[in-house]
């Protein structure tokens, strides 16, 4: 594998989102953005300058925002409906279910500042239940990009895909993941980032770089860790999970409650096909006050936390 020139620094994936969306919009006049007064938090100010008639701001009204998105799709547009993930997914869940998923509408839902990105603002502003809600909706593709490259790829894929998509975006800074120069984004496929047969770590979104760092920590102890980036939560790559179960144990890590998200999806596969212990790292529920970083640290959502969970699983096995 030829290694790409490493991109250093930390990135806010919203930039990759809007830059890609602007580039797509310049090529395809069907692309429109729909927002709930969230031009700033969605970083769509420049999009509005370039394409003023294609930025549709419905005001603070999420149910209408998603319904309008479905209507725009009916009228031949390719709407990117952007809002804070907490309001987009919770307030408009029935519109996402009925108007988008059940109606198979060509709507792209972009949940901004997902997970615990709004840390100190508290549980009303955290979006840590959304994967559980949305991955059960048949026909809705659910993507959780891990870095700027994958964000851009996911946006491009969504624009070209004729159907409903939810893209879970974060504002938390993440590094660009090390990838070969010829890396390709494949929807519905886990990305193997590191080989290993002692234990597997499956992560998504902001946790993927922590999973890779955890693998480094474990390697120092002589433990070879398989690291999978599960960017697509629905449809789910059961095959990769079942293969990962061959290592004898799986740790999952996600910015989500421990019920029903990535870990839940992994557990469903494993239980049915190849039962092995699964340790699900995530949040217990409504969280106390604290920064996003602090909240994640507190719940083992860090390199050290993932490594410890892996060691615990391996110890149980012996």
């Amino acid at each position: 594998m030829s290694a790409a020139v490493p991109v250093t620094g930390m990135f806010d994936c919203r930039n990759a989102y809007v830059e890609t969306l602007e580039a797509l919009a310049a090529e395809d006049s069907r692309i429109v953005a729909v927002v709930n007064d969230s031009v700033g938090s969605s970083k769509l100010g420049k999009f509005r300058e370039r394409f003023p008639e294609r930025l549709i701001n419905v005001g603070i009204a999420e149910q209408n925002m998603v319904g309008v998105g479905a209507g725009l799709a009916n009228g031949g547009k390719v709407p990117f409906v952007s809002g804070a993930a907490c309001f987009l997914t919770a307030r408009a869940l029935e519109q996402i279910k009925v108007d988008c998923a059940y109606s198979n509408a060509n709507v792209k839902l972009c949940g901004i500042s997902s997970g615990v990105a709004y840390g100190e603002l508290g549980p009303t502003h955290h979006s840590i239940e959304d994967l559980a809600w949305l991955r059960t909706l048949k026909g809705l593709t659910v993507i959780v990009p891990s870095d700027p490259w994958e964000t851009a790829e996911a946006i491009r894929w969504a624009a070209a895909h004729p159907g409903p998509v939810f893209i879970r975006l974060s504002r938390m800074p993440v590094p660009a993941l090390p990838r070969p120069a010829d890396a390709r984004f494949e929807i519905g496929k886990a990305e193997l980032l590191r080989e290993g047969d002692d234990i597997a770590v499956i992560a998504c979104g902001t946790l993927v770089h922590h999973a890779l760092a955890a693998a480094d920590l474990l390697a120092a102890d002589g433990i070879e860790t398989r690291v999978l980036n599960m960017a697509t939560i629905a449809p789910f790559d059961a095959e990769a999970v079942i293969a990962a179960a061959g290592t004898g144990g799986i740790v999952t890590a996600e910015e989500h409650v421990v019920r029903g998200g990535l870990g839940g999806a992994v557990a469903e596969c494993v239980v049915a096909e190849r039962p092995v212990p699964v340790r699900i790292l995530g949040f217990p529920g409504f969280l106390p006050t604290g920064s996003a970083e602090w909240l994640m640290e507190q719940h083992g959502l860090s390199a050290a936390g993932i490594a410890q969970a892996a060691r615990d699983l391996i110890a149980r096995r012996r």
């Binding site: 419905v58 319904g67 479905a70 209507g71 009916n74 029935e94 059940y102 198979n104």
Partner: protein, 255 residues
């Protein structure tokens, strides 16, 4: 249909029937042979539970065989209790939960506005449905955008599932509410074909504002024992009631 299926929403079907007949056979520019034609007029059934009326209109407009109406609500039928566009051509968006159709219709109208397209968007809402907040989110935005290519028709039969709208959560003064949200408003007899035709006709010049047609209707219209009875929101006529209902409707047609 409700009699054969053993369930249904005959009260609301009958209050909406004349409105649907006017739209499908007197107003809309649609072709069942090309149900996805980009320039078609759109109809969105926001009161998605009244499929008895909607399916009858779609079948008679040629979107599927009239004989298929006998499969209404039967296992595996395309004629589900609420419309599904994956099953049936002519259905623009799936509805059922109230409060969904108007936002979607607004979105279609926004697309038409951006494209300066020629098509017109019609949406039929229940009156009880206007207790849903999402309807007013959409109404506010339609007024703000000046969607002159949008007509909302309110099936104002005055009854919801258990009682009158006014006893439950009053809607009046309803016309004032729509006007305050930036709409033109017309009030018509929702069972008078000529009045409906003139209210729903697509204007040659696009309006500057969306239009709300408040159609004063009678729930259970045309069947004496159903008229204005909340109990017939959902209800199934017995054999004798069915015979009486057909006799009354036939007599009215003859008159």
């Amino acid at each position: 249909m409700a009699h054969r299926a053993g369930q249904g929403h005959p009260g609301g079907d009958l209050s909406a029937a004349d409105i649907l007949a006017t739209l499908y056979f007197g107003v809309m520019r649609i072709d069942p042979a090309t149900p996805d034609a980009p320039g078609r007029d759109r109809f969105v059934m926001s009161k998605g539970h009244c499929t008895g009326a909607l399916y009858s209109a779609l079948a008679r407009a040629g979107f599927f065989p009239v004989e298929e109406l006998t499969t209404y609500l039967q296992p595996g039928s395309r004629l589900n209790g609420h419309p599904n566009r994956a099953y049936l051509p002519g259905v623009e968006t799936n509805t059922g939960p109230l409060g969904h159709g108007l936002p979607v219709a607004v979105g279609i109208a926004v697309a038409g506005q951006i494209d300066a397209a020629d098509y017109h968007v019609f949406v039929l809402t229940g009156d009880g449905e206007l207790q849903e907040g999402s309807m007013w989110e959409a109404a506010m935005f339609a007024g703000h955008r000046g969607l002159g290519n949008l007509t909302a028709i309110v099936d104002r039969n005055g009854l919801q599932q258990g009682a009158t709208t006014e006893d439950t959560n009053a809607l009046e003064p309803l016309a004032d509410k729509w006007r305050a949200f930036g709409w033109e408003v017309m009030e018509v007899d929702g069972h008078d074909p000529a009045a409906l035709l003139s209210a729903l006709a697509i204007p040659a010049e696009r309006r500057a504002r969306p239009l709300c047609v408040i159609a004063r209707t009678t729930k259970g219209k045309g069947v004496s024992f159903m008229e204005n009875q909340a109990g017939w929101h959902h209800g199934v006529p017995s054999d004798a009631q069915l015979a009486q209902a057909f006799a009354e409707l036939d007599a009215e047609l003859q008159a």
